[in-house]
């Protein structure tokens, strides 16, 4: 018979995780679809009563996005333009029903190659906070999501928060473009997230660009990021991107699109995302 535990405190949850193996449940938007017509026989640790894991906080050098932050919470949060890409992803993720319960952290833990949150968090340089009874460790998102449905989460660990560092520059902007075959509730064929930190002299101090659904996990484009550094933050930024910058991507053919198309579309999306980013006032 399936076990079900819905603790009220994080320590209780972590104790449970130390004691035995659980399937961790938050918004349920990946859990239930995977079990259509199948028995609900997992031992489930439902973390939604952990009120300590709610409420986005701005701290001195970072924002802390606790594990139970939903996409709707994010949309409602007062956040600077750095988060505009992530917010755009939030608005295009599923329907409002999904946005209201699905969490950013769950999107990371599910580790779908088409997870819209992953390229956004990569572009934000985010880390995850993994808690266990005896330790709390921090891991960059790029080292947390390891591949298709694979993460570095240990069996006794709970992802307790996503941490986004505050940029050094006073101005920083984020953007996100999603490509799908219909308007709402669509799994991305490809998507691009981009962040530019702009120095006071109007040049790009740092840029981070990530592409999703074109590899087993979303990938940053370091060569492009290097090419963007020190350029003027201005319209026309997209011309900095060339096909070679996307060389590390390894898209596949599937029902949503061919690999060739994804490669081609990803470059278009990267250029457009940068153009639109650079057109920000």
């Amino acid at each position: 018979m399936a076990g079900y535990l819905r603790p009220n405190s994080v320590s209780e949850a972590l104790e449970a995780l130390r004691a035995r193996r659980w399937t961790v449940l938050a918004g349920g938007t990946d859990f239930y679809p995977e079990r259509v017509g199948k028995p609900l026989d997992d031992d489930v640790l439902d973390i939604t009563a952990l009120d300590a894991l709610r409420g986005i906080e701005a701290r001195s050098d970072h924002w802390r996005i606790p594990a139970l932050t939903t996409w709707s919470d994010l949309l409602a949060a007062d956040l600077p333009p750095l988060f505009d890409g992530l917010k755009r992803a939030a608005k295009e993720l599923g329907g409002v029903q999904i946005q209201n319960v699905a969490t950013l952290s769950g999107n990371l833990c599910n580790a779908s190659p088409a997870a819209d949150g992953v390229p956004c968090l990569l572009s934000l340089g985010a880390s995850v906070e993994l808690s266990a009874v005896d330790r709390v460790v921090s891991l960059p998102v790029a080292r947390f999501v390891l591949g298709n449905r694979a993460t570095a989460l240990g069996p006794d660990q709970l992802l307790t928060a996503i941490v986004v560092p505050k940029p050094k520059a006073r101005r920083a902007y984020g953007h996100f473009l999603k490509l799908g075959a219909r308007r709402y509730m669509v799994i991305s064929i490809a998507m691009v997230a981009a962040v530019a930190e702009v120095a006071d002299d109007g040049t790009i101090r740092a840029a981070r660009v990530a592409v999703g659904a074109c590899s087993a996990m979303a990938k940053r484009l370091p060569d492009l990021e290097a090419a963007l550094k020190d350029r003027r933050f201005a319209p026309g930024l997209g011309e900095a991107a060339v096909a070679a910058h996307l060389g590390s991507l390894a898209p596949i053919d599937d029902v949503r699109g061919s690999a060739t198309y994804r490669t081609d579309a990803a470059l278009t999306l990267v250029r457009r995302a940068l153009d639109e980013l650079g057109a920000r006032p």
């Binding site: 679809p33 439902d46 409002v96 029903q97 319960v101 709402y184």
Partner: protein, 915 residues
């Protein structure tokens, strides 16, 4: 593990003892009896189960009961205020926003969430709020209109006697849909019912053996019976009397992925706990025949051993000498066009329950064809048809997919053998895997015309992949040649339709029976001819439009109600405006190019060259009750309302008196299936005759003339004939056993003739005609198409209820858009509603409907059907717009972004000034 959980539902506190992981949607429906919350997918893909949780919309199928603890849930049952519809519900009713009603609760809750936050939202906000709820019937436009119009005052005035036809009436069954009271296939299952779960093949082709079932029984005490092929008195079904080729349960061989192998019957929770792997079926996969090429290949393995060449049917039509005529044409166009399997994607999965009552069997199912269900089920069980009674539930979308049997024979067999009520509700993936599909087509066609653009000759070879079993394959292969020319006059025609078996789900009936596929071909070739001759695309169509007195490809001389020309004339001003707008837009440059396309259609109403009668009855009881016995199931298109309007005006009493009995095979006569756009025309005529029959009897009793007015006042029937007044006291008349004192009946079978060996004859009594234009923007770099606008001009003969007519056209357009741009069923790959895409609220553009009423003399008050015509011209119009924008002639749908981008890259560059 069950636990007690307390929460609030619609303002009251409830306490439920159930497993905490149980889906809230199941808890609401099963534990609390609130079946207004619908389940369409259990995966958050369709939004049918949308409820409010602490005021925010969520999918109840993904909320564990445990998370509801202490929170407030609002369901559709909680929306009406003091027995009155809320303003939102009233707006839905006013606008015809509910068709089949299965998505309506979800739509209402999603909209409620928005309106609680923003009392006067704009259209983009409404779309964002409704983006997570799929609707397959309405095309969403009337839903969006309703939400935007929520503040408008309620105006329900009922039309007076004799003025129901033509009125913009809200659906008679609409209120129940808006409160959650409507009972669909899964909504009224008795608590003591056993459940049935089908074990399905994971392979497209395999031999199999069932192992020892004892361990399965031992491990699952709640498992009562495992049914196999051996339990079936007659293990074959099919829609043709002589073609029962599909087994209810496969017998040692499976021919498509998703085919039924065993049926497990038992307690619901016991069945849910059984993992697929625990059922001992050993499969030995064999080489699968996938696709037309494989099916048609020399020496291909046979899908059905007794069907050589995998051929189901080879039908054709010949008029004149098409080859010779093509040779002398000034302009010729040709092409090969391919379409995919398309899923009906009704939001209500197949569902129903059965019970045995002595020597009779009752079937409560979601269906389009109660009498066919009755006869087929009886045949399978070895019963007389009269032993089976079909009581259709509300049907949460059909579109042709609920013409074939699904749960019926299995629950019938189990209930018959076990003498317990037995229910079955398909899960979404099994619905998609096992139900019929639109036939994939490969159509090779040639069109030729003279220098003036007048068509001279058409040839068409249409090959269809009919999947593993016949279903409606012959219907498609016969209908398409008749329609090969499109709605144009062509003196020389040669057309052939063939269907081949493959190891895929059976392709069956789907809105249009093959004509949407062939329309893609003929409309592309009409555009080709226009381009070659430098003619305007609308003008060449108007020049060739069929007109009264002209003969069709089957040699049928059309007499009346041939309204394509008026449709095209109505479309001409928006066409010119759209072309000018596109030219201006494209001058601005940018990534997007705008195009305008046009599509024309015709569609023979009813069965092809076969009888398809309908009988309706209208009875007055001694208690004054006026009951309309209507065997035509309303699958959301509004026939219950439309037929009542017709019948009411024929009788001369206001609609308000009508009580409806719909589709019960014990109480209503056979009205035929709800398909082929036939109910308004065929059953509508029967309803008119029934109303006239009853009126005639009343007038005779009162000795009144034909223009007398009738009024019903309790049990008094008052007849006013000029100055003469008569009162008929109904309770003083002799009554039948059921209390009926007067009964009118009407039957209609449209006059048709069978097709001869050359496909010549009068296969349909009347045809629907339409022309649509589409404006679409294409992102050249990404191959993404955004349809901006559709203008749809439809000749419906007479719009009995303009709201329902618009609703049919809107819904057809949405499905046509899906066919053109996104829908492709691939077994094993797109078996859910997130990999298989249907249009969302954000994909359906602004639609302008122009109703043309070129009266059909045979039809009720001049009416003919519009169910299928809405869909047929849409894909051609959109593809024409894409071509106008990009220069690319799409030869394979859906035009997914990657296909369109590849086609754009493959051609030189956009053409500029196609007229």
């Amino acid at each position: 593990m069950s636990a007690a959980t307390s929460f609030s539902v619609n303002g009251g506190t409830v306490r439920v003892t159930a497993p905490p992981l149980k889906r809230l949607a199941d808890v609401l429906r099963e534990d609390l009896g609130l079946t207004g919350t619908k389940i369409g997918c259990n995966a958050g893909d369709c939004g049918a189960c949308t409820v409010l949780l602490d005021g925010r919309q969520v999918c109840a199928c993904m909320v564990p009961l445990g998370q509801a603890a202490g929170r407030a849930v609002t369901t559709v049952e909680g929306l009406a205020e003091g027995g009155r519809l809320s303003a939102l519900q009233a707006a839905f009713q006013r606008h015809g926003a509910a068709q089949c009603g299965i998505c309506t609760p979800g739509m209402l809750l999603a909209a409620s969430d928005l309106l609680a936050r923003d009392a006067a939202p704009d259209e983009p906000a409404v779309m964002d709020a409704l983006g997570g709820v799929l609707c397959r019937c309405t095309g969403y436009r009337k839903i969006v209109e309703a939400v935007l119009d929520v503040a408008a005052p309620q105006a329900d005035s009922e039309p007076a006697a004799g003025s129901a036809v033509g009125a913009r009436l809200a659906k008679l069954d609409g209120m129940a849909m808006l409160t959650g009271a409507t009972r669909f296939g899964a909504d009224a299952i008795p608590a003591d019912a056993l459940w049935l779960r089908v074990v399905r093949s994971p392979h497209a082709a395999a031999r199999f053996a069932v192992g020892d079932l004892a361990p399965l029984y031992d491990a699952n005490p709640g498992l009562v019976r495992v049914l196999s092929a051996a339990d079936l008195p007659c293990n074959g079904f099919g829609v043709y009397p002589d073609l029962k080729d599909q087994p209810v349960l496969a017998d040692g061989v499976v021919r498509f992925r998703g085919e039924a192998v065993l049926a497990l019957v038992g307690e619901k929770t016991a069945l849910e706990a059984i993992a697929d792997e625990a059922v001992p079926v050993a499969y030995e996969p064999i080489a699968a025949v996938v696709g037309l090429d494989a099916a048609m290949a020399e020496g291909a393995p046979l899908v059905q051993a007794d069907k050589p060449g995998n051929l189901l049917i080879d039908g054709g039509l010949r008029k004149g000498d098409a080859e010779a005529a093509l040779g002398s044409c000034a302009a010729r166009a040709e092409g090969v066009f391919e379409t995919a399997f398309v899923e009906h994607a009704y939001i209500e999965p197949e569902a129903g329950w059965a019970r045995r009552l002595g020597k009779r069997l009752e079937l409560h199912v979601s269906t389009q064809s109660p009498y066919m269900d009755r006869d087929e089920t009886a045949n399978i069980l070895g019963l007389a048809p009269e032993q089976v009674r079909v009581l259709p539930s509300a049907c949460g979308g059909g579109f042709g997919g609920k013409l074939d049997l699904s749960v019926q024979p299995l629950i019938a067999l189990a209930a018959w053998l076990l003498e317990r009520p037995v229910a079955c509700v398909y899960q979404r993936p099994e619905s998609m895997a096992s139900s019929t599909k639109r036939h994939p087509a490969r159509i090779r066609a040639r069109f030729g015309c003279d220098a003036g653009g007048i068509l001279q000759a058409v040839t068409m070879n249409a090959d269809f992949d009919t999947g593993a079993y016949a279903s409606w394959g012959p219907t498609v292969a016969v209908r398409v040649p008749v329609h090969a020319t499109g709605p144009y006059h062509v003196p020389h025609v040669s057309a052939r339709g063939r269907a081949f078996f493959s190891n895929a789900p059976p392709a069956g009936a789907f809105r249009g029976f093959g004509v949407p596929q062939s329309a893609i071909a003929h409309e592309a070739l009409m555009d080709d001819l226009a381009a070659q001759l430098g003619l305007d695309r609308l003008a060449i169509r108007l020049r060739n439009a069929l007109r009264p007195g002209q003969a069709t490809a089957s040699g049928q001389v059309l007499q009346a109600s041939v309204g394509l020309a008026p449709c095209l004339e109505a479309l001409a001003p928006p066409w010119s405006a759209a072309l000018a707008d596109a030219a201006a837009f494209n001058k601005t440059g940018g990534a997007w190019r705008r195009g305008v396309g046009i599509g024309c259609m015709w569609y023979g109403i009813g069965n092809t060259g076969l009888p398809n009668p309908s009988t309706m009855a209208l009875a007055l009881g001694r208690d004054g009750a006026l009951t309309f016995y209507n065997g035509a199931v309303d699958i959301g298109q509004g026939s219950s309302t439309v037929l009542s309007q017709i019948c009411a005006d024929a009788l001369g009493l206001p609609l308000g008196h009508f009580q409806l009995v719909v589709g019960d095979t014990d109480l209503t006569a056979d009205a035929g299936k709800t398909s082929a756009s036939r109910q308004t025309f065929v059953s509508g005529k029967a309803a008119q005759l029934a109303g006239e029959d009853l009126r005639g009897q009343i007038l005779r009793l009162a000795n009144a003339g034909p223009d007398a007015e009738i009024a019903l006042d309790g049990t008094a029937l008052r007849v006013t004939d000029g100055a003469a007044r008569h009162v008929i006291e109904l309770d003083s008349l002799p009554a039948a056993a059921d209390g009926t004192v007067l009964r009118g009946e009407g039957s209609f079978d449209p006059p048709t003739t069978p097709l001869d060996d050359n496909g010549q004859g009068n296969p349909y009594a009347t045809y629907g005609f339409a022309a649509q234009l589409a404006v679409a923007d294409v992102d050249l770099a990404l191959g993404v198409t955004k349809v901006r606008k559709i203008v749809a001009a439809h000749d419906v003969g007479r719009a009995i209820n303009p709201i329902q007519v618009e609703g049919q056209i809107h819904g057809g357009i949405a499905q046509g858009l899906g066919l053109a741009l996104m829908e492709e069923y691939i077994p094993g790959q797109t078996e859910n509603l997130h990999d298989y895409l249907i249009p969302t609220v954000g994909d359906v553009p602004e639609i302008e409907v122009i109703v043309v009423e070129d009266a059909e003399p045979l039809g009720p008050f001049g009416a003919k059907g519009v169910g299928e015509p809405g869909l047929i011209p849409t894909a051609p119009a959109i593809l024409g717009a894409i071509r106008h924008a990009t220069g690319v002639r799409i030869a394979r749908v859906p035009a997914l972004p990657h296909r369109l981008r590849a086609a754009i890259l493959a051609q030189a560059g956009p053409e500029d000034d196609t007229p």
